[in-house]
Symmetry: C2
Subunit: 390 residues, 2 copies
């Protein structure tokens, strides 16, 4: 079997890019990844692009070919992948499989979203395309509303407190201050979260990741050529699973079954347990989702996520550093880009290049990217050492 390594990555400044187009952001990210890997566009054999809703946000589908075109990569095959907010990780996973298939040795996986070119209410309506149109969007539910239902249930079932939810955002903003590409680079306090505008009870403004423009890209290579690159990060394991799109169809509101299945597969493939992960990027689209993800990924027992956060265990110097570069909350959440941005940040940690945000001795890192309320979950585990005996 072929082993796959990540040998370069980069992402644009995340934020409100009023003067820039999706194609401009995507091309910048691709260029950053190529420069980081020290290769030229002509070396790239295939392109995978994660994007959720450019058709509605900017009237543009066909993003694979468009990105290949704009980036000067023609005539390579280009594939757009979509799984709502997990579109980025999906593009990464398909790029990984394409190399595993033996078809290619060097593949570019990118993700992008331009969300600010529509009115805020239209952005919220567009995002509901990630939910069930017949059962959720049509009756006026929003994603904040859906995650509020999950938060309410988590609080009732496990005693998770409003303050513990706030501490997720506080942790992520604290890290994001040092990420120069983050949308919001300032610390916030628990009190500020609790006093911020109520969006969908119990979730408040500062529990929610923002509307963001941005793009991210990484270069994946086969083990046949990985030796040419410095400090590759190897894909040790991956998993991808699905669940009902409509929240009401789930067996539980407080766990993402897709994450549990995807994580189990990734851990098995990597030969690691949750305790073997040194740093993790998880999907804090809303504060409750970071708490649920920490549990579903096995970093603590189901229901203990709030206490885990409160005890400081997710802090940069904690026992399980999570969202060390700011998470979706502080960096921003340009939907299709997030899953690739997570891989970039894990790559940086494994290379020891994360500066003030560096987790010392990080040998393994995990990224979990979630679509909708958990209908798609994709987990990847990366490490500094090439897997043996595959």
């Amino acid at each position: 079997m072929v082993n796959v390594a990540v040998v370069g990555g980069g992402y644009t400044k995340f934020g409100e890019h009023w003067s820039r187009s999706l194609r401009s952001l995507a091309t910048e990210a691709g260029t950053l990844a190529l420069q980081d890997a020290g290769i030229d566009g002509k070396d790239i054999e295939a392109l995978y692009v994660g994007n959720m809703s450019a058709g509605r946000f900017i009237g543009q589908e066909h993003l694979g070919a468009l990105a290949a075109d704009q980036a000067g990569l023609l005539p390579i095959p280009a594939t757009r992948c979509e799984a709502a907010c997990a579109s980025g990780a999906l593009a990464f996973r398909k790029a990984y499989m394409a190399i595993k298939s033996g078809e290619y040795d060097i593949v570019l996986a990118a993700g992008s979203e331009k969300m600010t070119d529509v009115k805020g209410t239209d952005a919220v309506a567009t995002l509901m395309g990630a939910g069930d149109q017949e059962w959720e969007s049509a009756i006026g539910l929003t994603f904040t509303g859906l995650y509020a239902l999950m938060a309410r249930r988590h609080m009732a079932q496990f005693g998770t407190t409003r303050e513990q939810l706030a501490m997720v955002s506080v942790n992520n903003h604290k890290n994001g201050v040092h990420n120069e590409r983050a949308q919001f680079r300032y610390e916030i306090t628990v009190e500020q979260v609790l006093k911020s505008a109520l969006i969908a009870d119990p979730l408040r403004l500062l529990d929610c990741s923002p509307i963001t423009d941005g793009a991210a890209a990484v270069i994946l290579v086969s083990d046949r050529i990985a030796g040419k690159f410095e400090n590759p990060a190897w894909v040790l394991g991956g998993g991808h699973a699905s669940d009902t799109v409509a929240l009401h169809d789930r067996a539980s509101l407080t766990e993402a079954n897709a994450t549990k299945i995807a994580a189990k597969k990734a851990y098995e493939q990597a030969g690691l347990s949750p305790g073997g992960i040194d740093v993790a990027e998880v999907h804090d689209c809303f504060s409750i989702n970071e708490i649920m993800s920490i549990e579903d990924l096995g970093f603590c027992r189901k229901g203990d996520g709030g206490k885990f956060v409160e005890a400081g265990k997710i802090a940069l110097n904690g026992e399980m550093p999570v969202n060390t570069t700011g998470g979706l909350k502080s960096i921003g959440h340009p939907i299709g880009a997030t899953g690739i941005r997570q891989i970039c940040d894990i790559l940086s940690q494994l290379r020891g290049r994360s500066g003030r945000l560096q987790v010392s001795g990080a040998n393994t890192g995990l990224a979990c990217n979630i679509g909708g309320t958990g209908a798609t979950s994709i987990v990847h585990i990366l490490g500094k050492e090439e897997p043996k005996g595959r």
Copy 2:
């Protein structure tokens, strides 16, 4: 290397399904494919869904998970692929690569589109998402307009006649009469095409494929388990290439460079020349595109496509039968479904199950699915014999 076979396929009636939803059509197609292969949903390990614009057509993204959910396939990994009108072939190609990667042995690839739930003008605007939003859609170009430019140039450069264009539609309708799932089951004459409403000079209504609802699905398996199935069709070769999304950026208006590159790769992999193909499904979104595709695939010399059609060579009993089941023109063109529908029809020909539309002695078949005006082209060659020595 792993060889991959197609062991089942099916598609819904194509047409205007006013009383049915996308999820209903997709589930029907998946069920037909499972029944055809004689397997159960629980055997499926992964799902790939081709769809272009459900986000705009029906407010629903996240179609991979939704289809897995609706079809009772949870929690398998589900991937939505998009490359405009080539989304179906893209889903097939990614399913093929997933099996080649060694990750899965049985994969379902489906395609679907529900296009009639919006006004006709909104459908046309949505379809322009397949073009270049900044350079084409924004100035009012439509796809009929873009293909009209190509037709005009082809006529000027090669002497292709208005009548030859019409003969494409005549051929495809003649075959479609016998396809009970076709949207338009009646013969048309050259005179009728020439008298039909002018849409974008020189293209008339009967040169254009319609707005259609429909879904199609196929089952792909690895050679490890293909022996359990009757009459598998093996994937002998495939190719996928990209070109500029904006038509004005191309070196030529009269050839699709992406098709030429994709076909070259597919022929090389299959060890076949164009003369070795017994039956072909090509992308007649507009009559001119069938003529260009016939040339780009090497069935005749560049510029001779019109004469090739006029000489009856694409007829069911001709030397190179093309669109033997009706093509996009007669069967209809539910965007994301078309590429999978083409594979279903090639499968049926290779199995000798095409009834009155059967090409006698069909041992190899080719499908070419094109996105936009040729920014994406994907070619697959299938055959009755398993490839050796891969």
